[in-house]
Amino acid sequence: MHKNKFIFYTRNISKLKFHLLFSFFIIIPSLLKAQIHCGTVEFIPNSPLTQDFTFDSFNQYLGGITFNNIGQLRINVEDKAIVDPDCRWFLTMEISNSGGGTPAGEWETLVVYGGGAATTPPIDLLQIRLRNGCQTSPIDGLFQTFTNHGDVTNIIADGLARNDAGNCNLNVNGPGDYLTNYNEYTFTIDVRIKPNFTLKPGIYQLSVKFHLEEQM
């Protein structure tokens, strides 16, 4: 009896293994598989930008500091050799305070001057504006703020129907590049910070990640 039971179980385990392996190697890879619709999706150049804000006069604290055109996002999206009508892209920006031990809603502290009982700057101090000649983004020309580390704002949203360049339409997301359609494939970045008088003096840092990706 005991021997028969043992055989019964091993056979069932073999079947189970088979199903598990089948699922793992056949079904899951099928789900993961994503077809490429575009030939190239890139920023030109994609080198990082830095911008320093130094507040050392009272007028700057009162009025804030705005830097217009700290850089540009120049987009190049090309079709594949065999043109796929589903080649579309989306563009987002994501705020980061480096995570780690930094509270989600605050700037990353690099240095603190003095020891007053003030507060660390909140992330929503930073305002970012994107704009281009055709105002293709729904948030074109509007300063955007973020609340917490990891917050994402759509510039050209994911999941939209294809909207080809050439007519200065909203949400242009088809193939094209900044050389042939400059006003639709170039985004200028403006940054503004307007601190208040309750913040702890020091040096703080944030980074904004602009993410360009083809739609699936």
């Binding site: 994503a34 930008l49 009162l62 700037w107 702890k200 003096p201 840092q205 360009l212």
Partner: protein, 258 residues
């Protein structure tokens, strides 16, 4: 086993043909340097002269109204205090005698306390909740002559610039770093953005010196205003101020509440 091997091969093959979406990223790093800015704009004459050449001036004192205007702008929470100082050539905490008018009476001494100067600020201190002394600021009206009053005597700490303690007088804010509004600081701000008739960022300062007769400066008091240090109390009965020219200075200190 054959089925298993087949599924493994197919699976690996499928992995090998799966793709990642085309994407690119560009980063902007933003650094913010918040430097503390404290600005004390003071308009006053270079020298305030108190010339006592009339008996009534000895009795009633001389007052200079709004002789100093203090305007504050600060990006951080702050405290403001006044401190009496001198070169200490006569003695620490005393006026400097520049000229002696030749009185050789042994009761005529040159030890005039710096706290003989009285101040009156135009706006009460709204950040003095943590004050523990008899007088938290200089906002009370100058006392009438005839009875000594320490409510307006200038804070002095032996001629040093050391900030007052919780028992002493500040013009705005106070000792301590509780971080609680109204307790021991004035929040950052500027007289430039204030509205209304009064402001925590704007003070007119009146000065009074009351020698009395004999000239003992009865309102001179210690830092906390709990004891008088007039010439008789600090020295001996019968002493009085030696006629002459004396100088001292009032230093206004604006500092971050920390």
């Amino acid at each position: 086993m054959k089925k298993l091997s087949l599924s493994f091969i197919v699976g690996v093959g499928m992995f090998a043909t799966s793709y990642a979406q085309l994407q690119d990223e560009k980063d902007v790093t933003i650094t913010m340097d918040l430097q503390p800015v404290l600005q004390l704009d003071m308009s006053t004459s270079n020298q305030l002269e108190f010339v006592f050449d009339d008996i009534s001036e000895y009795y009633s004192g001389i007052t200079h109204y709004a002789a100093t205007i203090l305007k504050i702008s600060s990006t951080v929470s702050w405290d403001l205090y006044a401190v009496g100082r001198s070169n200490g050539t006569t003695a620490a905490g005393m006026w400097d005698q520049q000229l002696d008018y030749g009185s050789n009476n042994p009761n005529a001494i040159d030890q005039i306390p710096l706290s003989a100067v009285e101040l009156r600020q135009s706006q009460a201190n709204s950040g003095d909740g943590a004050a523990a002394g008899a007088f938290s600021d200089y906002s009370q009206a100058f006392a009438t002559t005839g009875a000594a009053n320490a409510g307006n005597s200038l804070y002095v700490n032996g001629g040093a610039i050391t900030p007052p303690s919780t028992n002493d007088k500040y013009i705005a804010g106070h000792a301590g770093t509780s971080g609680t509004a109204g307790q021991d600081f004035i929040a950052g701000g500027s007289y430039l953005t204030q509205t209304g008739t009064t402001s925590d960022y704007y003070y007119a300062i009146d000065y009074r010196i009351l020698p009395d007769l004999p000239a003992i400066f009865p309102n001179a008091a210690n830092a906390a205003g709990t004891a008088f240090v007039d010439i008789v109390t600090a020295n001996a009965a019968g002493n009085y101020a030696e006629p002459g020219v004396y100088t001292m200075y009032v230093q206004y200190v604006l500092l971050e509440d920390q």
